[in-house]
């Protein structure tokens, strides 16, 4: 084989590979969009979660591998929340019991990541989240690592407290004054479904309707390749 033929062959293989790569971007789950009832499909073959390392409520490392090989439903919460977070966790517990009754080939894991690791230690989270379902897993860790995930998930939070009757807001990522220990958190309250390839597959906005969400989760699991 002459040098020119070899070069031509290499070039041909490269062009074909590039073409295949540009056409094949994995299964297109957006086609399921018209069948969903309570969620937005976010799956993107080209976007993996960045590397992260957190700690779960059993003091075990919780990282990218924790999402691999199974479906996971994720929420962001904080335990000082008297209204929205218990509502979200209650919705998650209803969703789980509906899915268990439907005899799916797989019921997702349920994970609640705290926005507020300063107050929500793994031990405290364990007592808190297992109140809603004994199988729920609470996840805490470094604020920086949590903030990184919050951003990737497209979630948002800000701390809020009062000084002399006036409301002060500290957006996420910005430092809190050390002397402020009594604060609440304004936050988004979506649920996220992570597919077994460790990517964000779908999000469920408020208000959560567990029966409709269960229909969507079932649809995604059945159609996942």
């Amino acid at each position: 084989m002459s040098k020119t033929t070899l070069l031509a062959a290499v070039a041909f293989v490269m062009v074909v590979s590039a073409l295949v790569l540009s056409i094949y971007t994995g299964p297109d789950y957006q086609s399921l969009k018209n069948q969903t009832k309570a969620s937005d499909i976010l799956h993107n073959m080209n976007r993996e979660l960045p590397n992260f390392a957190l700690i779960d409520h059993n003091q075990t490392e919780f990282d990218n591998d924790s999402f691999k090989g199974k479906w996971t439903l994720v929420s962001f919460i904080y335990t000082h929340c008297p209204d929205i977070c218990p509502t979200v966790l209650m919705d998650m517990s209803m969703l789980k019991s509906i899915l268990v009754k439907r005899s799916l080939k797989e019921v997702p894991e349920f994970v609640a990541i705290t926005f507020d690791p300063k107050r929500d230690t793994p031990k405290l989270l364990k007592n808190y989240v297992t109140h809603f379902d004994s199988g729920f897993l609470g996840v805490s860790g470094e604020q920086k690592s949590i903030d990184q995930l919050v951003k990737v998930f497209g979630a948002y939070y800000e701390r809020s407290f009062e000084v002399e009757g006036k409301s002060v807001i500290i957006p996420n990522g910005q430092p809190m004054p050390n002397d402020v220990i009594d604060y609440s958190i304004n936050h988004t309250a979506l649920l996220y479904l992570i597919s077994p390839d460790g990517r964000i597959f779908a999000s469920f906005p408020m208000p959560h309707e567990p029966f409709l969400m269960a229909d969507d989760v079932e649809l995604f699991i059945k159609n996942y390749q």
């Binding site: 000082h80 008297p82 209650m90 007592n127 409301s167 609440s184 304004n186 408020m206 567990p210």
Partner: protein, 160 residues
């Protein structure tokens, strides 16, 4: 004959129940400002805060404000409202809750609620929590709220 007696007796009993129910209903609907159907959401034993919910009817011809709530055994009790601002759930402390004249205000998850902060002991499901409400017209009301999970949505969707 026996059958007729039984029917008459049943009718008498039913009328009695009806009258009692009507009297309670009338009382609720026509005696000033009345809070009812109060409940506290059951929470983990280490929960730093709990939410209390209820419905408040104002049967008077003037607007009334709920200005405070008190529950023994908590560090603080505050009036709060959660609002959804472009997907961000914001919880804000309120100075009062306004109940319009001849109207009602429903305190429910994701909306108006009474926040019970720093419980000495978190009440368990089925327990009663005594809440004292104070209105700006000088009236007060003490109400017993049942601690429960509040799985209302589950019931709403049984039809599905």
């Amino acid at each position: 004959m026996n059958k007729i007696k039984k029917i008459i007796l049943a009718l008498v009993v039913m009328t009695g129940f009806n009258t009692t129910f009507a009297a309670e209903h009338k009382n609720m609907m026509h005696s000033g400002v009345v809070a009812h159907s109060a409940w506290v959401r059951s929470a983990p034993v280490n929960a730093p805060a709990l939410g209390a919910f209820m419905e408040i009817h104002n049967n008077t011809h003037s607007k009334v404000k709920l200005i405070s709530a008190y529950v023994a055994g908590y560090k603080r009790v505050e009036l709060h409202r959660t609002t959804n601002q472009n997907g961000v759930m914001k919880m804000q402390k309120q100075d009062f809750m306004l109940i319009p004249a001849q109207g009602r205000l429903q305190l429910k998850p994701g909306s108006w609620h009474i926040m019970l902060i720093g419980p000495k002991t978190v009440p368990s499901e089925g327990e009663l929590v005594t809440i004292s409400l104070k209105f700006d017209n000088g009236k007060t009301q003490t109400i017993h709220a049942t601690v429960k999970k509040g799985k209302k949505m589950m019931m709403n969707h049984h039809k599905h």
